[in-house]
């Protein structure tokens, strides 16, 4: 927070303007009506003051019933019209235009989101900004609109009001103005103190929230009962409360002082003003009764307007600081961009002297000097323990990332020369952390664009991934809605079933190269083994790459690549590697030992 508030004022204003420009691109009408509403409301504030003045003048002059009644009636008509506008705008128009802006803003964010490098997800600063854009950008954009509208409103109101005050009495106008400025300055200080106060409380509040969460969530329920850790937590709560009270006391003194100063001086000013106006009404008779009423009425209105003016400006400043995040996100250009060439049928994949690390800043390579080749029709296994770099390799092949150095050749040509879409059509990967979408089974297999003619292909894909028996139990077949996200009757699949759907995706795509990243640890080793065998069988002459940390499940591969801490250390068939009696053989023996 403190770091961000270092942005220069100019930068902040530019950010705000950037956002307003975006909004005017999404929904130009919104900008127009925001300004119009601000001006109308601003004038409205002054019109009510003028009405009070006229009414009191009429009373003071003893103008008689009819002229006075006329003033009231005119004002009544005005009020009726004003509220029609106000209610139309806030109840009908504004909610709709906001929503429209929400849709357009997010559509732009979404299309940008799927284009940025996946590597960016690992950059915490960028990812933070990304998530912020997706979650909060709209709120700040809309609040910016509201606050700018109100700012216009306050400006128009305070300017017109000042005019009215001067037309009544210059001394009064100056006193009121001075008082308002004084309160405005105080409120700037108070807001600053408040920010510090909130900042001081923030870590303490977070601790409170954490303790609350531990007591609330079912995850922790067992530990709370079988250990005494709840004592530690309540102790933390006590300590935290004492610290909180210290902060509250420290700032409480300041706030009390601010308030007393502000209210005290305002009261003195107001009372003085009333005495002055009484003097002018009663003794010098410079001012009419209406002027007296304006003084009382305008005094608090003016200071309220100016204080709010400050409040809004601060908020607009704050929006500008936050909007920086969205600008950062939108301006990020993808570096993984495709070439022109369409990928042809898979023949071979060759990796040469490949180095890779996730963060440029991090010197430790996830993959180091890896070279290997995969030919059409082969069943390849890539094995090694967690952190060996197996999954990373898959991601590189899919061009989710680009290597730091070295080459990946698809059919003898650099991966970067191919159009990404066409390349990803040829390769299909089932990841460890596959996701099921809250959508129909068919859509989960085929994606969004499927048409009726594709139904048979979807069924075939599900059959190959051994999902058929489950499919038979589903009433709506492939139109069954998955997950209970939106549909209470939706079907929740088990871990194994989800995986089969994910595998069906790969079959549906009819890709030439299928990469099967290791299944979740929930799957027993025997089940994993069975799965690998059945996939090898169904894939026919397609090329398949199995990835696993269980050496037992991939024994039948044509060739095994053994990885250790990012390096390819051994390769060959199972028998060859055992004969080699290296690391693979050692690991395999270790895992097998307990079964002897």
């Amino acid at each position: 927070m403190s770091e961000k508030s270092k942005l220069s004022i100019g930068r902040v204003i530019r950010n705000d303007l950037w956002m307003l420009k975006k909004i005017s691109k999404y929904t130009p009408q919104y900008i127009f009506w925001m300004i119009a509403e601000g001006v109308i409301w601003g004038i409205h504030h002054s019109i009510s003051v003028i009405f009070t003045q006229q009414l009191f003048n009429a009373l003071g002059r003893n103008a008689g019933f009819e002229p006075t009644a006329k003033i009231i009636l005119y004002f009544a008509v005005y009020v009726l019209l004003f509220w029609i506008f106000n209610n139309w705008y806030w109840s009908v128009y504004n909610p709709k235009i906001r929503q429209r802006m929400h849709i357009e803003l997010h559509s732009e964010l979404f299309s940008h989101a799927v284009n940025i490098d996946i590597a960016k997800y690992d950059d915490p600063i960028f990812y933070n900004d990304f998530v912020w854009s997706m979650e909060k950008a709209y709120n700040h954009a809309n609040d910016l609109m509201v606050d700018v509208g109100k700012l216009i409103n306050r400006l128009v109101a305070s300017v017109t009001l000042t005019g009215i005050l001067f037309s009544v009495d210059a001394t009064m106008a100056i006193i009121i103005f001075a008082l308002s400025i004084f309160r405005m300055v105080l409120s700037v200080f108070r807001n600053k103190t408040r920010l510090k106060y909130v900042e001081a409380l923030n870590p303490l509040d977070r601790k409170d929230e954490y303790i609350k969460r531990v007591f609330k969530l079912p995850d922790y329920a067992k530990e709370l009962r079988i250990t005494k850790v709840s004592d530690n937590l309540t102790e933390e709560l006590e300590i935290n409360t004492i610290q909180k009270k210290k902060v509250i006391k420290k700032y409480g003194k300041l706030f009390a002082l601010f308030n007393i100063l502000e209210y005290g001086l305002s009261i003195i000013g107001e009372s003085g003003l009333i005495i002055l106006m009484l003097y002018k009404v009663m003794i010098t008779k410079e001012v009419e009764l209406g002027g007296f009423a304006v003084a009382v009425n305008a005094c608090w209105k003016m200071s309220w307007l100016l204080r709010d003016l400050v409040g809004r400006s601060m908020k607009i400043h704050e929006h500008g600081i936050f909007i920086e995040k969205m600008i950062h996100f939108i301006n990020c250009k993808p570096t993984v961009v495709g070439g022109k060439e369409k990928a042809s049928t898979f023949e071979s994949l060759e990796i040469r002297n490949l180095d890779f690390s996730y963060l440029e800043a991090q010197p430790k390579n996830v993959l180091e000097n890896v070279s290997l080749k995969i030919n059409k029709g082969e069943k390849i296994a890539i094995v090694g323990y967690n952190g060996a770099g197996k999954t990373t390799l898959t991601k590189l092949i899919m061009r989710l990332y680009d290597p730091v150095s070295g080459d990946i050749l698809y059919n003898g040509k650099d991966l970067k020369e191919y159009d990404i879409e066409s390349l990803r059509q040829k390769i299909s990967a089932v990841f460890q952390d596959y996701r099921i979408f809250a959508s129909s089974l068919a859509e989960n297999v085929a994606g969004g664009g499927f048409v009726n003619e594709d139904r048979q292909r979807i069924l075939d894909a599900l059959k190959k991934s051994d999902f058929t028996s489950k499919l038979e139990t589903l009433d709506n077949g492939i139109d069954t809605i998955l997950t209970r996200e939106f549909d209470k009757t939706g079907t929740e699949l088990s871990g194994g079933e989800k995986q089969k759907v994910a595998i069906a995706r790969a079959f549906y795509k009819d890709a030439d190269l299928i990469i099967l990243d290791e299944p979740s640890s929930a799957l027993d080793p025997d089940a994993e083994y069975e799965l690998n065998r059945s996939i090898a069988e169904y894939s026919g002459d397609k090329t398949v790459v199995f990835i696993s940390h269980r050496l037992s499940t991939t024994r039948h591969a044509d060739r095994i690549y053994m990885f250790d801490s990012g390096r390819l250390i051994e390769s060959g068939s199972h028998e060859e590697l055992i004969k080699l009696n290296g690391k693979y053989a050692y690991m395999f023996n270790l895992q097998a030992e307990k079964y002897r």
Partner: protein, 604 residues
Amino acid sequence: MAEKNKEKKIKLPIRKIVSDNIFMLKLLHKSSPFLVASCLIVALLDAVCSFISDTFLLRFALNGINENRSFIEIASVIAVWLLIRLAIISIVNLYYRLYYDIKITDVKKDVHSIVYSKATTVDLACYENPEYYDEFVKAIDECSTRSESVINSLINIVYTIVRFATNFTLVVIIDPVLLIFSFIPLVTVPLRTKLNKARYRKEMDLKEENRRKDYSRRTFYLADYSKEMRLTDMSSLMLVRFRESGAKVIGLLHKHGIKIGVLDYLITVCNEVVTTLGATLYAVWQTFVTGKIGYGDCIVIINSIENISYTLTYTTDDLLLFQENALYIENLRSFLDYAPKITDGDKALPESGDIVLKDVYFKYEGASDYTLKNISMRFGKHEKVAIVGHNGAGKTTLVKLLLRLYDCEGSITYGGEEIRDLCIDEYRNIFSAVMQDFHTFALTTAENVLLRKRTPDDDEIIKNALQQSGLFEKVEQFEKGIDTVMTKEFDEKGELLSIGQQQKLAISHVYSKDNRFVILDEPSSALDPIAEYEMYNQMNDACKDCAMVFISHRLSSAVMADRIYLMEKGEISEVGTHEELMKLNGRYADMFRRQAQNYAEVDV
């Protein structure tokens, strides 16, 4: 129809509302005796002061002009009142900032402590009952905000009553006919109810589509989905879904917006035009035509009518807040009143002994089938027992029964005593358990090992425990050693551990205690085979003098156990040592061979 039922459900009888609010006030009073009383006095002072300043003084000045009183007289009254007001404002501000804010912090903490200590005693089964869990979450989330809200509503209502009463009296004194105008806002009450309902309905109608939109949005930025969104065609589907829902939302907003706008308009017009301007017109008529009131009073009346109409309009909101608070307090009370079904017995804890299960049956609340059936087992006081079986066989449920997190049918005894007859805390204390879903708490490393309050003598214990679990070297690298706070939850300098290290930390807890029974539920899931092997060796050494129960679906780890129970579909299907079970040549042997098969040729 269903909607109507729901609306009915949220209405409480007035007696309940009163008693709930009083319940909370009593709670507050107990935690901070003078808070409530002092609050009311200060609110009263504040309200009276503002009436005198805004209304009474205005009347005095205007009538003074009208009646040609001397300027000095009026000015000096205003000046004197100014001094009084300054004093009152100082008192009020000092009170709120330096007394109230601090006391309320204490009150919130006390209320939380009450709720938290209750939370640890409710039955685990409550977490699985959505209705009860909902109540539980609401109680924890809302208890402190509601305690403050009850006081605030009370202050509000005092303020409103004073404001209403004083203005009302003034109007009655000047011209009772004007009261007709002040009661016009009551006409709008049904309109307001309608408006609230329309708003509620709008929210309800929008909920579904907004949820859909949110879901689509999540798929675009959560890292989990990032690969699928790039590699499959899902992104276009999600975008289309998003826009479709958005269009529906706009339609709904239009429909509801018009209704809400019209209702709101009628209410505003009723207040602003009919009441305020109507009363003004009447007062002006009385001034000019009948001459009954002077213009000073005329102005004051206009002001007062506005005040009365305002209070009448908004007291309903104030009162609704009491009702809303009552709903949450009702929830809190029913949470606090919950009597756990798993209760303490009065027998003394046996010095030592075996745990014996006999004919145990168990099913989760609301489930139609038994999770555990006909279970009889024995855990000897120095035995190493393995429970193996596939996922879903009921292994973890069995552990929960052993820890008496649930009660079951049949009998479980410890040292010959039914565990129901023992004090729960004492009984649970004989165990150290590492659960499948262990957690690292945002406390210091030391506290995470101990999972209890730390005393100065504990340092040695902690170090030993960490050494045994193999985490000591890692902890020594931390700047603050065992005092380092774990996770970055609220300490930027906190340390993050990998899953494997977290598991080791959880296992350290076992070494920090003087155990009679150690339970390990899939303790090696995040460890690689070598670390797993070491962990078992170490644990076996540490558990020489106590019993050990471990659970796994990897049969290889069961070989060294004194006894193995194979569980299938909630039942024990085979019992014996590894050799016995292999000889038996049943399901266990079959499973073992299948798992071993892939390694078989290494033997050759």
